[in-house]
């Protein structure tokens, strides 16, 4: 038999001390009972949050101007989603660190064309109406240069867009069919038809809400509601939930990085945060194999509190 030197952070001494009675089944049963009662008590006292989901109908009725402006941006291709990049389209700058850019490498796999998916296709599925049909026909038959000229005119007039008497008013005559299209789009949204049109593009049965969620997230109304509920990125974002609930508190470290430099000011903040968390996660999982890191517990000596009775008995 060969002997190896004892490595205190890898090897464990052979225990030759006393054993005490231990009823593992009883311990498990008591734990389940206590946790069940505690859970039921917390549920009774604190309940759980359930703010209704935002629909395009509620959004467009609550803030028709924000909706019409957002729809105009989707049509013109100037919205955040229209310029997102992978996995939705090729219009944005992919997040990267040096040459590392997996987002770009994998490319577009959930194709989103905001002009067609959010505006033109839903309007085209509407029952034929002369003004709408004419506007759609004008848009579809125009050259891309003409469409761009209309988009530019809309973008200039957009800050002064108003909504009154059930009508979207865009103070420009150079935006071609865009005012008509946005009026019908807003009508459709306020009736609830646009919610349905965005989810049923893939057929009758669907559980995929990618398109309406992306559309809603482009408006300021949705972010405003989140801000009031202390859910924005600068408020430790997605680890929170509505109301005074703990949320996903275990994500604190992930959310923490977004609050500090260089992450908070980087255009590739998400990639940097994920990269950092992946490295930290790997370190945590592999700590038994990493010299230095695995010595920390022995050096900080918290174990002496945990096993204080054992050490006291040895004195």
């Amino acid at each position: 038999m060969t002997k190896k030197p004892f490595r205190p952070d890898v090897d464990a001494p052979v225990y030759k001390g006393p054993y005490v009675p231990y009823d593992i089944i009883k311990e498990g049963a008591i734990a389940v009972l206590v946790v069940f009662i505690l859970t039921a008590a917390l549920a009774l006292v604190f309940s759980s949050p359930d703010e209704k989901a935002v629909t395009i109908k509620t959004w467009s009725n609550a803030d028709a101007v924000d909706f019409a402006q957002t729809a105009g941006d989707e049509l013109a291709g100037t919205s955040a989603v229209a310029n997102y990049g992978a996995p939705y389209n090729n219009n944005g700058t992919s997040q990267h660190w040096g040459f590392l850019s997996p987002e770009k490498w994998i490319g577009v796999r959930i194709q989103i064309n905001t002009t067609n998916d959010f505006v033109i296709d839903p309007l085209s599925a509407q029952p034929a109406q002369p003004a709408l049909s004419a506007a759609l026909s004008q848009w579809k038959s125009a050259s891309s240069a003409t469409q761009t000229a209309w988009d530019d005119a809309f973008n200039k007039a957009e800050p002064n867009l108003t909504y009154s008497n059930g009508k979207v008013n865009i103070p420009t005559k150079a935006a071609g069919p865009i005012p008509v299209l946005l009026n019908y789009e807003t009508q459709m949204a306020r009736s609830g038809a646009l919610d349905q049109a965005l989810v049923t593009q893939a057929g009758f049965y669907t559980t995929n809400f990618t398109k309406p969620l992306l559309f809603v997230s482009d408006g300021t109304y949705f972010a405003g509601l989140a801000e009031k509920q202390h859910l924005s990125g600068s408020q430790w974002g997605m680890m929170n939930e509505t109301g005074q609930y703990p949320g996903q508190a275990w994500l604190w470290l992930y959310t923490f990085w977004y609050q500090i430099h260089p992450y908070s000011t980087s255009a590739s903040a998400d990639f940097l945060v994920w990269g950092t968390m992946m490295i930290l996660t790997a370190l945590m999982v592999l700590v038994p194999f990493i010299p230095g890191l695995r010595s920390i517990p022995r050096k900080i000596k918290i174990y002496r509190i945990i096993w204080r009775e054992h050490y006291a008995a040895k004195l």
């Binding site: 060969t2 002997k3 004892f6 205190p8 890898v10 090897d11 464990a12 001494p13 052979v14 001390g17 006393p18 054993y19 005490v20 009675p21 593992i24 946790v35 069940f36 505690l38 859970t39 039921a40 917390l42 549920a43 009774l44 309940s47 759980s48 703010e51 989901a53 997102y84 992978a86 996995p87 997996p102 959930i110 559980t207 995929n208 990618t210 949705f222 509920q229 990125g233 997605m238 939930e241 703990p246 508190a249 275990w250 994500l251 590739s268 998400d270 990639f271 945060v273 999982v285 700590v287 038994p288 194999f289 517990p297 022995r298 918290i302 945990i306 096993w307 009775e309 054992h310 050490y311």
Partner: protein, 208 residues
């Protein structure tokens, strides 16, 4: 005849299992005297909370993902589901820090640590997919915020947090199976190797 029986796959597997995990190790009636701290409670608390999570999750699944919005009983069960998750993560994090402080990977227990850490990761994913499957404002907001992080890794192309169907199936089928299986492996490893003994000041030698 008996030699033939001993060569059977069934016999070999049974012998191997019983050798590595005899009944008195699987269900012990004594334990070392050093296992005397409140920190040891958090492992079993985590498992108990997992049990309540699964029980309440099964009840929530019976009538579909939106039942709890319109039913008082459903909302209560959802609240229990939420709070059992909070207890689960609280207990698991304390358990993790406790085991780190004890360097619980010592004495051939490295894989016990690794399975525990991986279980923690799988649980975070299970919790996250639950949050984005609530079909309310929270799920909308969390999903639209989280997509940017996942998309930046390229993972969003395959793990679409805006796709309720995908998230819900992961949350109620694949990830619970992963969490329970990993927990089971972790617990079996703990029972096989026993609870890590305290650090001793005197230099000790171990046999290779």
């Amino acid at each position: 005849m008996s030699t033939d029986i001993e060569r059977q796959w069934t016999s070999r597997i049974r012998h191997s299992v019983v050798d590595k995990l005899p009944p008195d190790k699987l269900l012990p009636d004594t334990q070392p005297a050093y296992v005397a701290s409140w920190i040891y409670v958090f492992g079993v608390t985590t498992m108990a909370a997992l049990g309540v999570i699964i029980l309440t999750g099964i009840i929530l699944a019976l009538d579909g993902p939106q039942w709890w919005h319109s039913s008082t009983l459903g909302h209560f069960v959802n609240s229990m589901h939420l709070w059992s998750v909070e207890i689960f993560f609280f207990a698991m994090v304390v358990h993790l820090w406790g085991k780190f402080s004890m360097a619980a990977w010592r004495g051939g227990r490295s894989l016990t640590w690794v399975t525990g850490a991986v279980t923690f990761m799988a649980s975070i994913l299970a919790g996250f997919t639950g949050y984005v499957s609530q079909t309310n404002f929270d799920s909308q907001w969390i999903a639209t915020q989280a997509k940017d992080g996942i998309n930046s890794t390229g993972g969003g192309a395959f793990f679409n947090v805006l796709n309720l169907g995908q998230m819900l199936m992961l949350h109620i089928v694949l990830l619970p199976i992963a969490a329970v299986a990993l927990t089971g492996i972790h617990v079996v490893m703990v029972r096989m190797k026993g609870v890590v003994p305290p650090f001793e000041d005197a230099t000790t030698e171990v046999s290779a």
